[in-house]
């Protein structure tokens, strides 16, 4: 059954053109399972009429959001972290927003560009956006194509030091066609026309507020502390690192929205007490990113005062295998590309390690609703998740693989071959959840005769990019290491870049490039590289998707990295709040805050 049939059916259902019973019959005729049917029906009917808040604009009082990391700057292109994007997104808007499935919805654009409507150039060199007309900035000035042009100029100036710069590297120029049409031209033809001006990294800035602050002067812009945009709210006051107070944008395009008269975004503290503020004391209406261990969180949810909100695309927790020898020093560095790993270069060994990692137990005991066990490296957008891979926890098969590879158990139960003992050093960041994961994995590996030495490094060190510190994830001076890679955009080029070695001097992490290369496993695979290069230019969406799936399958089959958990973004809100479908891995949780309302 095509996605199109389904969406048509959903629409008819919503418009009451189709009764539920009729819909069920049709869905069954289409060969859908009972579970599938109920989810279609739920999705279609759960969508409430979001036309207006019950009492109109500003009638629902104060909305209180709690972020355990405090926003420090409100200019989205100077954001220092996710929380800053979320804070900015309450007042600023991109041209399009996108959900976990990779489906676009227009925000400041009038429609989603496509090849069919001719707005995406057939040669992949440009895209044209028609803008929503009649939109005003919060100060009453009209929003035009010129503001989009300016936003690009602001980001593209290196002196500005925009953190969103990476999303716009392929953009050659942005020019107005007319006041409500803008054309983006790319440096090289790309299938990813949807990177610039989409999602949280694509928020459009008002030229009249920032014109004098492009370049190194950007830090002096009053806008950074008192941003405003075309969104439902404007910043009323801001105390960096503590509290943002928003009031209603008087010029917001929908006269009935937003429902709240004031929004407060409070920052600081820790995730556990942030969860407590919603689930136990209901002091706050919404709480972000509850990285709390599942048993603790489960206990709080049981109080029944709030709802847990989970969304796909929180990143994949995985164990990367080192293809180079971390104990041998060559040219002043360990894990040198010149020193292959004594046993992890053997496919069967890596496969055995993957088979002996008990992800189902990790998912069930430690993550609960916060993540699912996964067989894939690439899980988001969900349309790119491979269906060809299988997840298995099979000690017998793992033992068999190691026997076949010639690794014999020694008197101490640890396998060895040619004087090399299979003793694995396994590092991750300090985090009680991760240390428990390590224990579970270690127990599995012990059953196949692999000895494991656990190591945990302070997160500040582990994730830092300092070339002088041997304990960073990029130095990778252990045999395997574990962390979560996150998805930043619906085009997974940077995410899959972790495994790309097409330009070894630059892409493989090593001393010569200050360990800035993304390929930390030092894995080199010609096919993968070829597919990766091809995916950068393949314009046919179907073929492009197939390439990413093929790359995922190669990484998984080769067990370069062992995917454990497909994590979810986990937020929560009190029972009285309705936030709609707010979560997206590519846009802020506050992206639809105009629609948030109190339940009657």
């Amino acid at each position: 059954m095509g996605q199109k049939d389904l969406s048509l059916l959903r629409r008819d259902l919503r418009n009451h053109r189709l009764s539920r019973r009729e819909a069920i019959v049709r869905l069954m005729a289409l060969g859908m399972s009972a579970g599938g049917i109920s989810s279609v029906l739920a999705a279609a009917t759960a969508q409430p009429a979001r036309a207006a808040a019950a009492g109109g604009r500003g009638s629902s009082g104060v909305l209180k959001l709690l972020y355990w990391q405090a926003p420090t700057i409100l200019n989205p292109h100077l954001a220092q972290g996710t929380k800053d994007f979320h804070a900015a997104r309450i007042c600023c808007e991109p041209l399009l927003t996108v959900n976990a499935a990779g489906v676009f919805t227009p925000v400041l654009a009038a429609e989603v560009p496509s090849r069919a409507n001719g707005q995406v150039a057939a040669d992949g060199k440009s895209v044209i956006y028609k803008l929503r007309s009649g939109v005003k900035w919060a100060d009453g000035r009209p929003f035009t194509a010129d503001d989009v042009v300016f936003t690009f100029q602001f980001i593209a100036n290196k002196q500005t030091a925009a953190t969103t710069y990476g999303t716009y590297v392929n953009v050659a120029k942005v020019e107005p066609v007319n006041p409500v049409t803008v054309k983006i031209t790319f440096k090289a033809p790309t299938p990813a026309w949807y990177l610039p001006f989409v999602g949280e990294q694509g928020q459009v800035l008002p030229r009249h507020a920032l014109d004098a602050y492009v370049g190194s002067n950007a830090r002096n812009a009053p806008f950074n502390l008192k941003s405003f945009g075309t969104g439902p709210y404007v910043v009323e006051s801001f105390r960096p690192g503590d509290l943002v107070v928003y009031s209603v944008n008087p010029n917001y395009r929908d006269p009935n929205k937003p429902a709240f008269s004031q929004v407060q975004m409070k920052g600081g503290g820790d995730a556990t007490s942030a969860a407590r503020a919603v689930f136990e004391t209901t002091e706050y209406d919404y709480s972000w990113n509850l990285q709390v261990e599942w048993p603790v969180l489960q206990h709080m949810i049981a109080e029944g005062k709030g709802q847990l909100l989970t969304g796909a695309g929180g990143g994949v927790e995985q164990i990367y295998c080192n293809f180079t020898d971390p104990s041998k020093e060559v040219d002043g560095q360990r894990s040198s590309v010149k020193a292959p790993h004594p046993f992890l270069t053997d496919l069967k060994v890596r496969q055995a390690l993957a088979l002996a990692a008990d992800r189902a137990t990790i998912a069930k005991e430690l993550y609960g609703l916060e993540g699912d066990a996964t067989a894939n490296i690439l899980t988001t957008p969900t349309s790119l998740a491979s269906k060809n891979t299988k997840m298995a926890f099979d000690i017998a098969r793992a033992n068999q693989l190691l026997d076949e590879a010639g690794w014999q158990k020694g008197p101490d139960g640890i396998r060895q071959k040619g004087g090399v003992k299979m003793q694995v050093s396994y590092q991750t960041s300090v985090n009680s959840l991760r240390q428990k994961e390590q224990e579970i994995v270690k127990a599995g590996w012990a059953q196949i005769g692999v000895g494991t030495t656990l190591k945990s490094v302070d997160a500040g060190v582990f994730f830092s990019s300092s070339p002088g510190n041997n304990d960073t994830y990029a130095h990778f001076y252990t045999d395997v290491e574990m962390f979560t890679s996150t998805f930043g955009s619906p085009f997974p080029a940077s995410y899959m870049g972790r495994f790309y070695s097409g330009d070894p001097a630059k892409t493989i992490a090593q001393k010569e490039n200050d360990w800035s290369g993304l390929d930390i496993t030092r894995w080199v695979d010609k096919d993968f590289n070829a597919w990766y290069d091809q995916a950068q230019v393949e314009l046919d969406p179907k073929k492009n998707a197939d390439l990413w799936i093929k790359m995922n399958d190669r990484v998984v089959d080769q067990a370069v990295s062992i995917p454990l958990i497909d994590r979810k973004s986990v937020d929560s809100h009190v029972n009285s709040l309705d936030v709609g479908q707010n979560l997206s891995p590519f846009d802020s949780a506050t992206r639809n805050i105009a629609d948030w309302r109190r339940k009657a």
């Binding site: 220092q80 002096n220 950074n224 960096p240 503590d242 300092s466 979560t484 996150t486 800035s516």
Partner: protein, 314 residues
Amino acid sequence: MTRYIGRRLLSSIPTLVLISMVVFGILALAPGDPLGQFAANPDIPPEVRMNIRHQLGLDQSVPIRYVKWATSFLHGDWGYSFASRVPVDRLILQRLPTDLWVVGSSYLVAVCLAIPIGVLSAVKQYSLFDQLATTFAFIGFSLPTFFTGVLFIIVFSVRLRWLPFIYNVQVTDPVVMVKQALMPVGVLALFNSAALVRFVRSSMLDNVGQDYVRTARAKGLAHRKVIIRHVLRNGLIPVVTLLALGLPAVFVGAVITEQIFRVPGIGSLLIASIQNSDTPVVMAITFVYAILVVLFNIVADVAYGLLDPRIRYG
């Protein structure tokens, strides 16, 4: 006297320079960088990271960065926060009122509790009251604020629902303002007063046995008067020193307590800045703290002389 103060001030300059060098050195050696939050996000390519480091001046060598920081600090320019790109002095000034209110009142409460309790338990040594006060002091002294803080939250917010546990500066209602300050003030006051009680008690006991007390009693003064006019006045001299040395904390906040109750004081700014490797902010706060400590040391010494005429400054 003036000469003494002048000499003390001059001699504190090398101390402060040394402190600033050590703090800067430690910060430079510490791992982490301002983009730490984006660490596992491959969407921020290495070029962008390098460029931002360059724009923030982090690619220069440590001595050069130190000299730059020191010269601009002397000119009154405390630099910009990496995280909010706001002048550091503005960030700190914004948070000072909250600290004066929360930490200041906790200090006041601590003093108001500690002096009477300390005096009474010294006067009635080994009585039931003294035993109770001692127990209370040891409990307060040995329980860390991160424990009492969470305990208070669970009891007063989660179970009894009397008090909010998230401090909000936006509040204008005076009742709520007091309510939300109760727990942080309580936690800090408990901790501070515990130490003070012990100090006041022992200082009082030191004086009770002195000859001048016997003389005062011998000339027929009432017990109350002896204690308040003679013993207490003399007993408080070392306490005043202790109080003066503790005062800088009022201006720099209480790191842990502020973090637990989300009090937006300078202490929580310090912690957040350390986590974000926001060097200019950390430098400014630690250095201001160093200056205050040195200053209040001088104040304590001077106050000592004023209270006790026997002490002369040579």
